[in-house]
Amino acid sequence: MHHFVVRLLAVVTFLSSLSAIPAGSQVKAPAKPDSVRMAVIGDMGTGTMPQYEVSQRMMEYRATFPYDFVIMLGDNIYGGSTPKDFERKFSVPYKSLLDAGVKFYASLGNHDNPNEIFFAPYNMNGSSYYTFKKGNVCFFALNSNYMDPKQLEWLENELKNAGDGDWKVCYFHHPLYSSGKTHGSSTDLRKVLEPLFIKYHVDVVFSGHDHVYERVKPQNGIYYFTEGASGELRAGDLKQTAMTAKGFDTDNTFMLVEFAGSQMNFQTIARAGQTVDSGVIDRQVRSSLNSFALLGGTLARKHTAKGLVQVEIHQLGS
């Protein structure tokens, strides 16, 4: 206990010395009443200073963008799963958020002990894949370490039952689309998951594993984000590819996301505090385009006819 307190004090002292949010960098999302607000972190569980610093930024931004929960994209705890590992790599770095009542919803990465599914603050309730709903957003946390037929059958059933009225957000560790040099796209996983995502109109997918940030251009109408730099970082690991809409690989990052009606605002913030990406996804418009595309096939996707539909990603600053 004494050791825990000493460590905590040291961390708090250090973090207090960090500069405040840089001038000109502010929350981009509107923080509308009754919106669904969350933070997104991946590959965070190192127990090193970058993880603590990212956590500090998360807390600072929460003062103006009060999010209620955090989704975790795997590799939550690196290098072992003793009680001390949980303390140093999760409970201490995120203590401020936990004390503020922020809930965490974890998915498993390839470095995670499978028994993390029983760890109370991860809210996995003993399952390596599960679903939950917040407002008009349905979340599907998957176990991409082991995508067996049973999990696929479960996922198809859940996606079908969720209907088409709400947002559908899937998150798991291994990215289906990634320009990371070290890992890259998980094409075998893509083969089994993407058809389901398309069939049941999944809107957004978050993954980690590659220790960078990347927003990929929509693939078959679905938006893919890699956020694998919330503790770990592979500087310079992003290759130049045609699918990147925005990439960042020189500092740790986390994301803030707001779902308000048919719009999803996102903002990616670096450890140093600056915004490296932001935008708006309009689900209603995307659904219309998909419906139109179904009628017209590929042709409809290439044409955004004025007056019919309008799809834009608004770059609000970087």
Binding site: N115, F118, P149, L189
Partner: protein, 194 residues
């Protein structure tokens, strides 16, 4: 009796050879299928036996709540490991992956690595950093902190289904059978993953 021309005779002989080849191939394929089916049935029976053993082991221990703390999780995992080791003190490689089972599963794995998805499957395993130089033994814990190689979904679709208590894992070129909660190796097949 009419005399057959040499050309006709040769044609008939060729037809006989072709028919014989097809028949032999079908017989071989049927035999393989039969042994595959027998192999998988045997595997399912042995897995079911292990599943019962695991459930008995868990029943003998305080149950782990779905929301626990790390101390309880670690203690429960160790207690389960100890109990399973006690119940399977004479477990050996091949108790579940018998020669017949090994043959059936190896055939499936080879087919996947020779098929249209081979490059995707290979990339998945490579991307997961397959680990060599680690000595695998039955009843050994999968080392805490060692990352997992992703088991490719295409491969999982071809392997026999497992109950929730057991999972496949890949370590280098070895296919492991692992007790999920105990993180304990219960059998393994070396040199099957190309």
């Amino acid at each position: 009796m009419t005399k057959q021309s040499p050309v006709t005779m040769k044609f008939l002989m060729a037809l006989l050879v072709i028919a014989g080849t097809f028949a032999a191939q079908r017989a071989l394929s049927s035999a393989q299928e039969a042994s595959g089916t027998a192999g998988f049935k045997d595997f399912h029976d042995r897995i079911e036996k292990y599943e019962k053993l695991h459930k008995n082991a868990e029943k003998s221990l305080p149950s782990l709540k779905k929301k626990s703390n790390p101390q309880l999780i670690a203690a429960q995992q160790q207690a389960l490991v100890d109990k399973i080791r006690e119940l399977r003190s004479d477990a050996r490689r091949g108790d579940i992956f018998t020669p017949v089972v090994t043959e059936s599963i190896t055939r499936e794995i080879k087919a996947v690595f020779a098929g249209a998805d081979a490059h995707r499957v290979q990339n998945t395993i490579q991307a997961g950093n397959p680990l060599e130089g680690f000595k695998v033994e039955v009843n050994q814990r999968y080392p805490d902190g060692l990352p997992f190689t992703t088991v490719p979904p295409t491969l999982l679709q071809k392997l026999p289904r497992l109950p929730d208590e057991v999972t496949y894992r890949i370590l280098g070129s070895t296919l492991l059978l692992v007790d999920r909660k105990a993180n304990l190796i219960i059998d393994y097949m070396p040199n099957v993953i190309p």
